[in-house]
Symmetry: C2
Subunit: 570 residues, 2 copies
């Protein structure tokens, strides 16, 4: 599905014959074209899934093998499956044997450190229009990750790192109180159509395993999960009953399915838990509170921390990336940057270094709720302490007073934190704090975060980032309404809004809009200015042409404009 008739799919081809990076080409009415980064993938029949186009790349490396995977159990689909004795909506498409390393780490980081340029890296370089060596060196240094589980060969490689385009993640997933597999797959498709770079399946309800299978098999973007959610379902929602063995088994289940990155709340240490007692909003991270609850119940250290190296060994076999969860992130502006948050961040820094010893890719999760004046510091501390590992933040919300508008309160914090170096932004929908996002909320969240991420790309001076703005502004100035719509992040809404006041078809070619009306138009007057002075005429020349008027200016007390008064960089 393309969202606008002027959009077509084009491909950039690399050296590897089978590297084809999809772009969305926008055909403009003036004959020009504009290419947009595309996350939509080739499209799939949900029943069949996407072609596993990366299999050849993975096999060619000769360092993995397929094996008899872990047998699916009823409990994998939660309590409903156990009650009814069968999982609903079993995946009907091709079932592939899972693949894992024959020995060493098969991660993009391991290859990058060995100086190997993988097809995934070439793909990413084409996609970001940058030098492949930049991709390899950033991944080798841990400053960027390419989440690409060997069991998710349908995924189109993408990179998360501060030197690259700011990415956004969309959360989907059912809960104990809502929604079906079809709905979730539809949300996935909707999210990538509008530009989500990765999608997290945060299902906590029934059919978790099966829902995830449908999502991964149909996803051209990396899929992330929070395995503790499924593990909790396996013990009937009772945190106390969680064990490392149950968690480990759940992680392997998800590695074999092809989850590309997993949120692991290994930084929630027993001794940090009391630090949250005096907070305004305590612990608001679900995973964080699960582990805090477990630590308190057993009065033992977080098993994700004590078994962390085993986790690294597992992730290295599948190239699953860590998303180190900030289980103690602030849930209100009052709690921002407190002892609990920063203590956990120091532990996440230690865990980052330990994962890198295993060549496992890592990103670090961040808040949450942070007042604007503390946003920059949050990135600075994370980047310093975590050795430059990519920062992945949820918003942050710049104020707590606007439930129903938290996509906006958080977009303010998100654009700012991304400008200062956050690599990926987890979207927030209008339903945050109030309910589960529906299809429309997913779109609103994605569009809002795409514009926040792009605002950051511009502010960072990312090469070519502003070309998109310039193309749209030029179309706007030249009254190319159809081009303005086609270039919009959301062409559908832009055209609908325009047509609300001026539905007539000719209004789309009219040299005016509903703000000023036909008789007068500011854009038209400045067109006249351009016609009179020409776009090439320098202000200096034009000023000369007005020399005869200069005396008059002075009489009238006009101070003559002095070049030197203006800052050099202008």
């Amino acid at each position: 599905m393309t969202v606008h008739p002027a959009h077509t799919r084009v491909y950039k081809r690399g050296e590897h014959s089978n590297i084809e990076v999809p772009y969305t080409r926008v055909a403009l009415t003036n004959g020009e074209t504009f290419d947009r980064y595309c996350t939509e993938g080739p499209g799939s029949d949900p029943q069949v899934g996407l072609p596993p186009f990366r299999v050849g790349w993975i096999e060619d490396r000769g360092d993995t093998e397929t094996y008899d995977g872990r047998a699916t159990q009823l409990v994998d689909n939660g309590r409903a499956a156990i009650r009814s004795g069968a999982a609903r909506g079993e995946w009907q498409g091709e079932k592939r044997e899972p693949r894992r390393s024959t020995g060493g780490a098969v991660t993009q980081m391991a290859y990058a450190r060995a100086g190997i340029v993988t097809p995934e890296m070439e793909y990413v370089a084409l996609r970001e229009s940058c030098d492949v060596e930049l991709v390899r060196s950033e991944v080798a240094a841990g400053r960027a990750i390419i989440p690409a589980n060997v069991n998710h060969p349908e995924s189109e490689p993408m990179i998360i790192g501060r030197r690259f385009l700011v990415k956004i993640n969309a959360n989907i997933g059912n809960s104990a109180v809502t929604s079906s597999i079809e709905e979730e797959v539809d949300k996935l498709t909707h999210a990538i159509t509008w530009g989500a770079d990765t999608v997290m399946d945060l299902s906590t309800g029934d059919d978790i395993h099966t829902t995830r299978e449908w999502i991964i098999r149909n996803s051209p973007v990396p899929i992330g999960t929070v395995p503790i959610y499924q593990a909790l379902e396996k013990v009937n929602g009772e945190a106390d009953r969680l064990t490392w063995e149950i968690f480990r088994d759940t992680v392997i289940e998800q590695c074999e399915q092809g989850v590309d990155y997993m949120t692991i709340h290994a930084g929630v240490l027993l001794r940090y838990v009391p630090m949250t007692a005096r907070r305004v909003t305590g612990i608001v991270s679900r995973g964080g509170s699960i582990m805090a609850g477990w630590c308190l119940a057993h009065h033992e250290e977080n098993f994700l921390y004590t078994h962390y190296d085993e986790l690294c060994e597992i992730f290295a076999q599948y190239d699953v990336s860590f998303s180190l969860g900030d289980g103690l992130r602030p849930g209100s502006t009052a709690d921002a940057d407190d002892e609990a948050q920063l203590s956990e961040l120091r532990t996440l820094a230690e865990l980052t270094a330990r994962a890198w010893e295993h060549d496992v890719q890592v990103m670090v999760e961040g808040p949450g709720h942070v007042p604007l004046h503390l946003v920059e510091e949050n990135v600075r501390l994370q980047q310093e302490w975590c050795h430059g590992a990519p920062f992945y933040t949820l918003g942050p919300l710049a104020t707590d007073i606007a439930p129903g508008y938290d996509h906006i309160t958080s977009a303010i914090g998100a654009a700012t934190i991304a400008m200062h170096g956050t690599a990926m932004l987890c979207y927030v929908t209008p339903k945050e704090h109030l309910g589960l996002p529906n299809r429309d909320d997913v779109k609103t969240g994605v569009i809002t975060y795409k514009l926040a991420a792009h605002a950051a790309d511009i502010a960072k001076g990312h090469p070519g980032a502003r070309d998109w703005d310039d193309a749209l502004s030029k179309a706007r100035f030249e009254f190319r309404w159809r081009d303005q719509f086609a270039l919009s992040l959301d062409p559908v809404t832009a055209e609908e809004f325009h047509d609300e006041t001026l539905p007539a078809d000719n209004a789309k070619t009219a040299h005016f809009c509903s703000m000023c009306g036909p008789k007068f138009c500011s854009m038209r007057i400045s067109q006249d200015v351009r016609d009179r002075f020409g776009a090439d005429l320098t202000p200096e020349d034009a000023a000369l042409g007005m020399k005869e008027k200069s005396a008059e200016f002075l009489e009238l007390g006009g101070t003559v404009y002095v070049e030197e008064d203006v800052p050099d960089r202008l």
Copy 2:
């Protein structure tokens, strides 16, 4: 109209018996209350208008007199009135004789400079919960303004300055292609109900004079206009035919009606016009392009600049404040901070100083479209060059690629520019660049800008600003759903969104939400943490209670938390 059953109107009383500052009191289910700044006014029958409660204050000063005002002419209501020979919807309420100075300046600035504390200043001090001397001294210094035309005695005094709460303006007004008087009055009421601090009537269509009369008589907030719009209507939309005399007459017409501040594009100088020729989006300010068009047509200097001192004399007689228009503001991120914009800003600085010589209050308008990394500089230059006069910006939009979402692209820039010292933010609605805002767009724009302004108040560390966030977050943490709604900027939407997933009435008292479901809840677990450790227990004490575990921590490679590692201010 109050927007929520838990909201009631309360009044803070000052020394003057008749100073009563309205607040919205939110009654919480735990017996506490929270008072919110209120812009809604006492409410009025549109046919009758609001009581002119400031008349006594104005008369007591003994420096103004009523007089036979300028006779209304058909042309004041535009071409339709001329065609039909009568204006539509004439104001039916009481018609008061206009009032003006008997001699000297009757501006709040003149009083402040003379060391006089006016009831308006007392009102503002109560409203801002600050010392009245701060109000007087900031107004005297020109760093803040209290827009309060002596002919708008219905208005509740408010202040615009960086030392005070960040304010927001909502634009309404009909255009050549849309809407009626009733609609515009309804938009006014809607805007102030949701929190607009001032409203600008930017009508450019028919019945301009009459529409404005209805708006002013019913407005408890200051009303701003762009008089050149009406002047242009008087010359059939032909900028070339504008004259100082027509403009002057229009300004007096509006001074007598009670307009509190007027946007004057006196900084668009003839020699700056060519500087826009090479821009991506030329001149996008309507007023700016009108004056640019006039300057080019006549090859003469802008008559607003050449007659500026006369304008100051007129404004001083009614206490009308200047909003110095940025007619050359950038209309795209590409044009931000260019020679045209900064040249005009230098002239606005000169005009600010000249207005102050007449004791006339001034604020300076700003962009527009500005990439995030240039936002802070825009405030810094304006504050330095314009001697600290209040900055009043339109957004700015942080990117151009999201028409239909420009309330968001601009809220990002607005929160940031306000954090750095902008005093008032002009809202942008979702219809920006596409059409005229309807009633719903006005609400969305106002709520979006209220949250942006509040985010800035928090970031500035404005006294008490975060209390609102803390009250709402506390309600959220304690599952006081009804309180969370009542405290929201938009209680209606917050409750609707919640009910979409959990409509049952008991869900509003339930200790869970639709995100985690009833079986497990992160908030509940952190409640357990608090119950176990107590909100008063220090982390240090709690750590002691865990001493027996510390050996284990070390065995497990847990690094003991070192206080010194954390920045002092934590």
